[in-house]
C-alpha cells in the first residue's frame, strides 16, 4: 500500500511499466531475430546438419555453404581427382572431400552486382525525383496540388504486382525486359510516390525563411535549395533512401517475371540454388546472409542521420 501512496510523477512511466515495456521489446526482438539467426547458423552447417531432425543448434561449422554459393562443381571419379594436383584453396578442398571438383564461379556474384546496381540506382533516382517534386509541392502554388498529390499516392493503393502483366507486355515491346535500366525505372516508379510523400513532410518542416534569407543574400532559388534546404533535409532524405532501398533490394515478384539471364537480381537467384539431391540449404542460407549485408551496412551508416533532429534548435518555435 505504501507504494501507491508514495509521490510519483504523472508523466514519467513507473518502474513496473518500464520493465514491462522492456520485456515486450526484448520479446519482439527475439521473435524477429530468430529466423535471421537461424539463417546465419544454417549457412555455416553442412548439408546433412542443415536438414537433420531434430534441428541442430550445436554443430561443427563448415564453410561449404559459402563455397557452394560462389562456385559450380562437377562430380568426378576418385581416380580422376587423384590425377589432379593439390587442391586449389579451401573450396576445392571441401569439394574434393565430396568427390567433386570446382568447375568455375557461380552466377551469384553477377546477380549480386545486378542487385546493387538496380537497388542503389533506383533509390538514387527515386530520392532525387522525390526531393525535387516534394520541394515543388511544398513551396510553390501548384495548380491542382492536392489532386496531383493524391494521384501520386494512388499509385500505391494497389499492390504493384497487380500490374505485372501489362508491364511485362510493355517492357517486351519497348525492349526493357531483362535489362538493368528497365528494373531501375520500374523500382523508381514504385518508390517515387513514397519518396514524394515522405519528403514533402520533411521539407514542410523546414521554415521558408531559410531559403528566403539565402535568396536575399544572393543565391538563386536552385542554389538556395541545394545549399540550404538539402543539408537540412538530410534526415528525411536518409530515411526515405532506406525505405526505397529496402523495397528495391528485396523485391522478388517483378524480378522473377521480368529478368532471366542478363539483369537477374539476387532474390530470384538465391532460392534456385540446387545442390546434388535437392535444395542446397547451406548455400541458400549463405547467399541470403551475404545478401543481408549491404542493407545492414547502409542502415548503420545512415543511422546517425535518422536519429538527428531536423533543425536542432536553430529556429525557435
Amino acid at each position: 500500500m505504501s507504494a501507491s501512496n508514495a509521490a510519483h510523477s504523472v508523466v514519467e512511466p513507473s518502474t513496473g511499466t518500464r520493465r514491462f515495456a522492456g520485456l515486450l521489446v526484448i520479446l519482439y526482438a527475439i521473435i524477429t531475430m530468430v529466423p535471421l539467426i537461424w539463417i546465419v547458423l544454417t549457412s555455416f552447417k553442412s548439408p546433412d546438419d542443415a536438414i537433420s531432425y531434430p534441428p541442430k543448434v550445436f554443430f561443427k561449422p563448415s564453410l561449404e555453404g559459402y563455397c557452394n554459393v560462389f562456385t559450380t562443381r562437377s562430380r568426378q571419379t576418385q581416380e580422376f581427382i587423384q590425377t589432379l594436383g593439390p587442391p586449389q584453396g579451401l573450396c576445392d578442398n571441401i569439394a574434393r572431400s565430396r568427390n567433386m571438383v570446382v568447375a568455375g564461379p557461380s552466377n551469384y556474384v553477377p546477380r549480386f552486382i545486378n542487385s546493387l546496381i538496380i537497388a542503389f540506382g533506383s533509390t538514387v533516382l527515386a530520392v532525387a525525383l522525390g526531393t525535387l517534386s516534394a520541394y515543388g509541392f511544398s513551396r510553390f502554388r501548384v495548380p491542382l496540388k492536392d489532386d496531383l498529390l493524391f494521384f501520386i499516392l494512388s499509385t500505391r493503393m494497389m499492390p504493384p504486382i497487380a500490374v505485372a502483366i501489362p508491364i511485362y507486355l510493355m517492357y517486351r515491346t519497348v525492349g526493357l525486359s531483362d535489362t538493368r535500366l528497365g528494373m531501375i525505372l520500374l523500382y523508381t516508379s514504385v518508390n517515387v510516390s513514397l519518396a514524394v510523400w515522405l519528403l514533402k513532410g520533411f521539407i514542410d518542416e523546414i521554415p521558408r525563411e531559410y531559403e528566403e534569407a539565402a535568396m536575399i543574400d544572393g543565391y538563386t532559388r536552385f542554389q538556395a535549395f541545394v545549399k540550404v534546404v538539402l543539408p537540412q533535409a538530410t534526415t528525411g532524405i536518409a530515411a526515405t533512401a532506406i525505405f526505397c532501398l529496402i523495397f528495391a533490394w528485396n523485391e522478388y515478384a517483378f524480378a522473377v517475371l521480368l529478368t532471366s539471364g542478363n539483369a537477374q537480381t539476387a532474390p530470384p537467384f538465391i532460392p534456385i540454388i540446387i545442390g546434388e539431391g535437392g535444395q542446397d540449404w547451406p548455400a541458400v542460407a549463405a547467399g541470403t546472409t551475404i545478401f543481408l549485408v549491404p542493407i545492414v551496412v547502409f542502415t548503420v551508416l545512415l543511422r546517425k542521420h535518422l536519429l538527428r533532429g531536423i533543425t536542432f534548435g536553430a529556429v525557435r518555435k
Binding site: E209, Y219, Q232, G313, V315
Partner: protein, 365 residues
Amino acid sequence: MAQIRVEALNKSFGEFHAVKGASFTVDDGQFLCLLGPSGCGKTTTLRMIAGLELPTSGTISVDGEDVTMNRASARDIAFVFQLFALYPHMNVRRNIGFPLKCEGIGAAECDRRVVEAARILRISHLLDRSVSTLTGGDRQRVALGRAIVRKPKCFLMDEPLGALDTEMREAMIQELRALHDRLGATTVYVTHDQLEAMAMADLIAVMNNGVVEQIASPRDIYDRPVSLFVADFIGSPAMNFLPFRGSLQAGAQAIRLGDREVAIPTAREALVESDLVLGVRPEHVRFSDSGVVRGEIYGSEYLGTTQIVTVTTSYGALKARSPASMPFQIGVNVGLDFRPDTLSLFDQGSGRAIRTALYEGGEHG
C-alpha cells in the same frame, strides 16, 4: 544607403486583397515602422519591398531605381526574419559570412568583415559556437550580423523581436535603435507591437486591412490620430471614445455632450448633424466634481507609477490615468473633465478625424 519609395502598391492572393494602394517614402537613413494588427498587410508590404513577393500592381524604387520586378538578390537589401533563419548546419562565423560567400568575396576580406560585424554587435566571443547553443537574444544578434555584414542599401526587418521574451526585447529595442543611429541605415521594420514602434521609429505607418491609415512621427501618431482605427490601435490603455450626435460649425470651440458643453480644439470644418465620436486619452481625463461626465468607479488597475481607473458612465466605461497614490473607492460617484486642447473628434460613419486646431503644427498631416 538609400531612399525607398513605394507607390500605389497592391497585392492580391486570389480573392484576398492583402495590400491596397500603399504609398510611402522612407528617406535615406530613416527608420520606418509598419505597424498594424495581424493580417493588415504589413508583412506582405515588406516582402514586396524585399522581392520575396511580386506586387499585383504599383512600383517600388530604391535610390530612384525601379526594382519592382527585380529578384531579391538584385536589390542589395538585408532582411531579418522573426525566426532568425540561421542555418543550423553552420556555426556563427559561417552564418554571418554567408551573404559574403554568396557574393563571392575572398576569404580574408570575408573574415575581416565578419569579425567587424561581430564586434559591433558584441558577439565576437560567440563566433565559433554552433547557433543551436545560443540564447534568443544572441541568435537575433547573429541574424543582425548577417544583415549588417554586407553593408546593404537598406534593412528590412520582419518582427525581429517577436520571438524574444519581454526583458530581452526591451534590451534589443535599445540596441537596434543604437545600431541604426550608428550605421545610419534606411530601415523598414514590421511589428504589431506599438511600444517597439514608438520606441524606435522615426516614422510609423499604421496599416489596417491592407490600407496605410496614417504615416507620421510616433508623437503625431499618438497625439493626432487621423482615424478612429489609429486612435484605437495606438495607446495602452486605448483612447476613450464617447459617441454622441451633434453638428459643428467651423471655428466652434466646444461641442454639446448631453446637456453639457465640452471645450475642444477649434474646429476647422463644418458638419451637419451626424454621429460623432469624442476621443480622449486616459491621461487627459481628470476627476472633478464639476465634471462634464458623471459616473461610478468600477475598479482600478495599479501599475506602479500610475493607476488606471475605470468609471462606468452613460457613454460606456471610461478609463482615466491617475497618480498611483490617489485613493479610490469602488462604487463612488465621480465627475470627469477632459483636457480641451488634446481632444479628437471623429466621424462615426467614415472613421475619419474632424479637422481641428489639434492637427495644425503637427510634423506630418
